[in-house]
């Protein structure tokens, strides 16, 4: 795994650190975890609790904000500050928090319904603004908490309680969506691959601005096996593309497949691993075109040829930093505010 690329002001600059050694236990709250046994959410929780001590941040300066859904119960289990808010609105709430408190590490926990259905508007605008947030999108391709309706990432034709004859809608590809929304950091990982999960989350946390990480998460109750082909030993090497910054894009047990640009259409296509045209992945490219093309390799139904890893990681000033700069500039230029002078205004008169 490639180390995260260091870019300008790191994501956690300004967040106080601690010298006291932390352990997973420090980040575990006293609340009993109530997800269904076998739910993919457990693995993500364990990975986050497991890697946060590595960041060495003051625990009191970490905040988890979530929406509504099974995954959104996450903050209750973290021994940090946290808010379990309302359906779809976590990015908006976290925007106000992060923009007014640059000394916090703010995390958003959301689901595919929460982030892409009811909260779609907030998600794209948080990405566009580049608010300093790390957003973990738990994509189980189903509405878990409301017991199994299709979601905006469900494959077309999906049979659920609300679509007995199959769903009619084309699904969102969250990575494509985020790239289209001007995201500066976009990654994808899988609940069951602890090491990969940790590496992508670490890179996301270190990024200043909005990082969006799509996590393929199994809902073993309402959509079991949704990512089976990407996880199963027998199939995964043939369908999972691991992206690594600066490395050629190859997959297959022996790297026998590659990805190259079709010169006539400009889109990406699968080729032989030793094809001279195999592209090299550059997450830091200014132009998101190649990252977007990579995101389009996945079959929208089966998810075969899904790339995972960091698609894009570029530098752009974070919203809260820009806002703080304007406040400083205004005070530098005109001096700090004088309330009495403000109230008096330019045209006062005196009654003797």
């Amino acid at each position: 795994m490639t180390a995260p690329v260091e870019l300008g002001r790191p994501g956690l600059a300004g967040v106080p650190t601690t010298d006291v050694k932390q352990t997973k236990k420090d980040f575990t709250s006293d609340q009993e975890v109530r997800w269904c046994p076998g739910c993919g959410d457990y693995a993500v929780l364990a990975a986050v609790q497991g890697f946060l001590p590595d960041l060495g941040l003051a625990r009191e300066n970490i905040v988890f904000v979530s929406g509504i859904g099974c995954s959104s119960r996450f903050p209750y289990y973290m021994n940090t500050y946290g808010m379990h808010s309302i359906h779809g609105r976590a990015p908006a709430i976290a925007t106000g928090l992060a923009a007014s408190r640059p000394d916090l590490s703010v995390w958003v926990i959301t689901g595919d319904g929460d982030a892409l259905s009811i909260g779609g508007n907030h998600l794209i605008h948080a990405l566009r603004r580049n608010v300093n947030l790390t957003i973990l999108l738990f994509n189980n391709r189903i509405y878990g908490l409301t017991k199994g309706q299709y979601s905006p990432t469900s494959e077309q034709g999906k049979i659920t309680k609300s679509t007995p004859m199959g769903s009619l809608e084309a699904p969102f590809n969250p990575v494509s969506l985020a790239l289209g929304a001007e995201a500066t950091f976009v990654g994808r990982t899988i609940d069951s691959d602890r090491q990969h999960l940790t590496s992508v989350l670490s890179a996301a946390a270190a990024h200043r601005g909005t990082s969006l990480v799509e996590i393929y998460q199994n809902c073993n109750i309402f959509n079991d096996g949704a990512f089976e082909i990407l996880k199963n030993r027998d199939s995964r090497d043939e369908v999972l593309i691991r992206l690594e910054h600066g490395e050629p894009v190859r997959f297959g047990a022996d790297g026998q497949h590659g990805v190259r640009r079709n010169p006539s259409t400009g889109s990406l296509e699968v080729c032989a691993g030793d094809d001279p045209g195999v592209i090299v992945h550059d997450a830091t490219a200014d132009d998101p075109t190649q990252a977007f093309a990579l995101s389009r390799l996945a079959d929208p139904g089966t998810l075969a040829r899904s790339p995972i890893g960091v698609f894009r990681q570029v530098e752009r000033p974070a919203y809260g930093d820009l806002m703080a700069t304007q406040l400083d500039e205004a005070a530098d230029k005109h001096g700090p505010g004088d309330l009495q002078a403000l109230l008096r205004g330019n045209d006062p008169w005196t009654v003797g």
Binding site: Q31, V63, T80, G82, L97, A98, S100, R344, W349, T350
Partner: protein, 619 residues
């Protein structure tokens, strides 16, 4: 030169009316500024179309600005103009029904062409038939005279005629003895980089003044002496400006950084614009993607220890409802400003109404008590904002602050307070563990203050107080998730008791100089001025009438019920179909009678006075 007479008057109502592009709001603002610095009491009512530029010369495109000024304290912008300044046929036609017989009409004849007359449905010119025979009419070619006066500037016809509003302002300034110095200074600042425009406007302004002084058209000018006001520093202020300043002041008095989340909507946008200018006060303004995000961001900022505020109008309140409910559950400070406008739906964006009272009180799921404070005049928006923040911060609760289109854009002189006299607000952040747990001290985010029932506000960054809150019902005390039936009932009642028990809500005061009134008139919000003016009229006519005005709509003052019951009759005028009346009847079992109008305009004092006298007569 003829000798001009000066007549003394105690009050005058002037209405400037013209096309949306004629600069009538600016003209009105400047005349107001001149009048304010002269020392009159005054009250203004801008009235403009929702369309930015409706087709020129049409009735929907008419924009107007009414100003009432006097040598005594006045309460309203005036029922009807004593003087109408009409800049085109449409302005004359649209405003004529409001002008009482005998009033003065100054009309610019420059645009009285057959085509322009046709546009507003006049076959013949009202200047030539007897349409205006009941008025004192000054039919002047203001456009033509302005263009003549500006000939040396070699402007295009269009540019020259644009200054006709300044000519009219100069003329009216002469008529009422206002100094134009302030406006000259204003034009110098406004057009600092466009010298020709600046000089042309100043020339037009002065030409208007000189025209009044020299022509025989105007034989008299008028004098309205300054009003006696308590000593102090004054300024003119609109409701939206006063509200913005109130929020900045409250942030300073509480030591909290102000965070505004807002989505543009008439008539609230000016608060967003204003607060965006004051970054050096540490004010953060966030123009969100929608109203839901706006309030969400404000609530997120509150969670982080800021003074979270969101500003909107009725349609925005509808969208924010779920987040207000979350704030009720989280018990965090938050101020939601609703500058009401005509509804339902898009309704009348630029007109006033007070029909959101029940929405802010009850427009949410579940038992969701939220304190409500309503401003009663433009300058009162300042103090109402501070009061809303006091309640929000002290009781860790969302608070609705109600204004409306009339208060937002209307203006009046304001006795500028000494900032040292403003109340301080103590956020009292939690910094310590507050509970004896099993073997060790721990932190309970819902352990309430026994007096206020407010919960501790522990902000991220405070070591040892890490906690999780959310919209799911919480266990009384620890604040962890609880679905227990008895706990839910306790929490519902606790949240209600906290709001019901808000201290510092003063008793409802009654004004009854006679001490013998049997009729009480009760209002809330922006009807304060019109009700007050109407009550004065009724008293002048020999009737005993008592008046009381509610600033706190939730909780209401403790003596409200007793007070209502102590009168034989209670009249509640409202710019809705009876929302406060419904509350008073339901809460206090008093058979109040409503007087309800929803014309998008404030009440007229005369109309209300008639209603009041009728009610007194029926007793």
């Amino acid at each position: 030169m003829t000798v001009k007479h000066v007549h003394e008057l105690d009050r005058v109502v002037i209405r400037f009316a013209g096309d949306s592009g004629d600069g009538m709001q600016l003209t009105g603002d400047r005349f107001t500024a001149e009048t304010a610095s002269f020392g009159n009491d005054l009250s203004t009512l801008p009235n403009f179309p929702a369309e930015i530029r409706a087709p020129a010369g049409t009735l929907p495109g008419v924009s107007s600005f009414q100003l009432h000024f006097a040598n005594y304290d006045i309460l309203t912008p005036g029922d009807a103009p004593d003087v109408l300044v009409a800049m085109n046929p449409a302005a004359l036609k649209a405003n004529l029904p409001d002008v009482p017989k005998g009033a003065t009409i100054i009309v610019d004849t420059g645009d009285f062409t057959p085509r322009a007359l046709k546009k507003v449905g006049w076959d013949t010119s009202p200047l030539e038939d007897n349409t205006l025979s009941a008025y004192k009419v000054h039919a002047l070619d203001l456009s033509g005279i302005t263009m003549e006066a500006l000939a040396p500037f070699e402007l295009s016809r269009k540019d020259a005629s644009r200054s006709k509003n300044m000519f009219a302002l100069g003329l009216l300034s002469w008529m009422y003895g206002r100094s134009i110095d302030g406006t000259v200074k204003f034009l110098h600042e406004k057009f600092a980089t466009r010298e020709t425009i600046r000089d042309a406007n100043v020339a037009a302004l002065k030409a208007g003044w000189n025209y009044g002084e020299t022509t025989e058209e105007f034989a008299v000018s008028y004098e309205v002496k300054p009003a006696a006001m308590p000593a102090g520093t004054y300024r003119n202020i609109t409701g939206n400006l006063a509200l913005s300043y109130g929020l900045i002041a409250a942030a300073r008095q509480s030591g909290l950084p102000l965070f505004l989340g807002s989505y543009p909507i008439t008539p609230a946008s000016d608060i967003l614009h204003e607060l965006s200018k004051h970054k050096r006060f540490g004010v953060r303004t966030f123009q969100a993607e929608d109203e839901v995000a706006a309030i969400g961001a404000a609530l997120g900022a509150s969670f982080g220890g800021a003074l979270g505020v969101t500003t909107t109008s009725g349609p925005g309140v509808a969208l924010k409802g779920e987040t207000v409910g979350l704030a009720v559950s989280l018990e965090l400070p938050l101020v939601i400003v609703d500058v009401q406008r005509g509804g339902p739906s898009t309704g009348l964006p630029t007109k006033t109404e007070q029909a959101d009272l029940l929405q802010v009180l009850y427009g949410r799921n579940g038992e969701s008590p939220v304190p409500v404070v309503a401003a009663s005049s433009p300058s009162d928006c300042f103090h109402a904002a501070i009061e809303a923040v006091r309640i929000a911060v002290t009781y860790r609760t969302p608070v609705f602050l109600l204004s409306d289109g009339y208060l937002a854009n209307g203006s009046e002189p304001w006795h500028v307070p000494d900032v040292e006299s403003l109340p301080t607000i103590d956020p009292g952040f939690a910094t310590e563990l507050n509970h004896d747990g099993e073997g060790e001290r721990d932190f309970w985010p819902y352990l309430r203050d026994p007096e206020t029932l407010a919960r501790p506000w522990a902000v991220p960054g405070t070591p040892g107080l890490e906690h999780r809150i959310g919209g799911i019902e919480k266990l009384d005390g620890p604040g962890t998730i609880s679905y227990d039936p008895n706990n839910h009932e306790r929490m519902v009642r606790l949240r209600q008791a906290k709001v019901d028990g808000i201290a510092g809500v003063p008793d409802l005061e009654v004004e009854d100089p006679s001490g013998a009134a049997r009729l009480l008139v009760v209002g809330w919000g922006s009807t304060y001025g019109p009700i007050g003016a109407a009550v004065r009229r009724a008293r002048k006519a020999g009737h005993n009438v008592a008046q009381a005005h509610l600033r706190h709509l939730n909780p209401m003052p403790a003596n409200t019920g007793d007070l209502l019951r102590s009168y034989d009759r209670v009249l509640v005028p409202e710019m809705n179909l009876g929302q406060l009346a419904l509350l008073l009847r339901g809460k206090y079992l008093v058979d109040v009678v409503g007087y309800n109008r929803v014309r998008g305009l404030p009440f007229k004092a005369e109309e209300l006075a008639d209603v009041i006298m009728e009610e007194v007569g029926a007793l």
